[in-house]
Amino acid sequence: MMQQLIIYPLLFQLFLSIVLMFFWNKINAQKVISIAGSIIAVILSSYVFYYVWENGTQKVNAGNWDAPFGIVFVADTLAVTLVLLTALSGLAVSIFSAGSVIKDRLRFGYFPIFHFLLLGLTGAFLTGDLFNLYVWFEIIIISSFVLITIGGEKAQLEGAVKYFTLNILASTIFLTAIAVLYGLTGSLNMADLAGKVAAVENRGLVEVAAILFLIGFGTKASIFPLYFWLPASYHTPPAAVSAIFGGLLTKVGVYALIRVFTLIFVGDVFLGEILMVLAILTIFSGGVGALVQNNVRKVFSYLIICHIGYMIAGLGMFTEIAITGVIFYLIHDIMVKTNLFMVSGIIFKIKSSNSMRALGGFYANYPKLSLLIFIPLFSLVGIPPLSGFWPKISLIGEGFATENYWTVAAIIFASFITLVIIAKLWAEVFWKDAKEIPEKPKFEYFSDISKARKTQFILPIVFLSLISLYIGFGAEHIQLLSSRIANELMNSQQYIDTVLNNS
């Protein structure tokens, strides 16, 4: 009976979005329910995390159909960690949305859709069935389409067209990959596929399926030749929406890549090499792209791409230590990227601009806020002992151990370029003398809003910064968690046995 516990975070998000729909026009009630519900979701997810940490991988057969015939939900340590991180960023963004998103948007069902997005993410992390993963991905993208277009500004709609097209294309390719894999093995359960794919004689077609998965998930994770939709769309919606997108949507693609390439297509040298080359190119193009941008949010968008490269590189090396680095980086990145987009939102609220050239004088006018923003910015760079530093030890060390010197060079280059970009941003936005920006007539400035709403802006940034600090200073705990996850991923037999054991 306790096993059912693992799907509670998922059911709770569904319940929350349905409840929210009953309060369609009552925006204030929606804010309260969303924030209170997100707190409960964090508690639930923490409990599930604790339960799995103590008792090992759990699974639930949906509708009591024995695996591999029915859909299974599997909670291994990786899944519950990501569910917990989703709940944490969900809580932060929920508070931030209550303060920052304007009424016109909230009135069109912003909060219910937001919780549907979290539902999709939670489901994608927990499912153990490939087609079910496709369905969760669709729930994620449909919710994200609504969130990205809600408000209907010109830039938003143009960004949405690009975002929409490439995400649908990616989903169709993912579906094609499922079709090929089903044709080869007659199964959709990931644990079952792990054994059956290894036994398939037609290796060529298996390779084709693997590449199709790589393209489908790679588009969602925004790796090298497939990332162009991201910088074209992530800066258009409200900052709260960008925050949840930047923090979690690309990471769910990375999660799917990790899952598929550690469980189903294991130990393929050709794929490993492709991943490495793509990772290096992703790192370079993201880093160089960020260097030339002027809009703060576009800089962060390109940095997302750059840092996705780290994780793909670690996956390409495919050793236990490299995967440990990947997982650590994933945990750190979700927290920091969510935080940074909220920071860009607060900058916009204060000055009504996100252009680095026009901004300035933050440190002189808002010293405390600047010091707060310092934490996520320099966690991203990975100044020791802040959180971005620790995973790079594993990644670079393992790069040397497996003699992938190009990858090592790319990671060091990217760390350096991130430092340059953040230093430039710090100098332009915070240290440079304030410039006069013509006031927008109808814009509601930060100084005009009530104290309660100011708290709603600052509190989530403080919250996520504290978590980032914990990841940095408590690196020992996170390292322990990451190495346990890596160990589970590399020794997938235990996962397979848990899923296929129906007694």
């Binding site: 087609f131 993208i141 609504v146 010109k154 143009e158 067209v161 929409f164 094609t176 089903y182 074209a232």
Partner: protein, 117 residues
């Protein structure tokens, strides 16, 4: 039958991709629809086509006696159709709104997101 379906699937994929690469927004949607249908037919084709053998166990036996049509691909296709229907209707509304606001249906003229601001 299989060979015909295979050619059809290839044709749908090719024309879908071609239409997505065109500059017009409306053709983009047509491309997405064609591609989705291609994927659905591919699942159907790869699930092995079995004629006239429904997956029903005869009353007097406990297991299947002969090869039967796999019901799973059909369930998958049904799900995929429903999802793509939802997405396509969203796409049509999105394109209509975008056309109203941007006043063009040429993708190359949608440059507001690349502007330096």
């Amino acid at each position: 039958m299989e060979i015909l379906l295979a050619i059809l699937v290839g044709l749908l994929y090719a024309s879908g991709i071609y239409m997505i690469l065109r500059r017009s927004l409306v053709k983009l949607i047509i491309g997405i629809i064609l591609l989705g249908n291609g994927a659905n037919l591919l699942i159907f084709l790869l699930g092995r086509i079995t004629k006239g053998l429904p997956p029903i166990i005869p009353e007097n036996s406990k297991v299947f006696l002969e090869a039967y049509a796999d019901p799973v691909p059909q369930a998958l296709i049904l799900t995929a159709i429903v999802i793509s229907f939802g997405l396509q209707s969203f796409a049509i509304i999105l394109v209509k709104r975008a056309h109203k606001v941007v006043r063009t249906d040429d993708l190359d003229e949608m440059n507001a997101t690349d502007e330096d601001s």
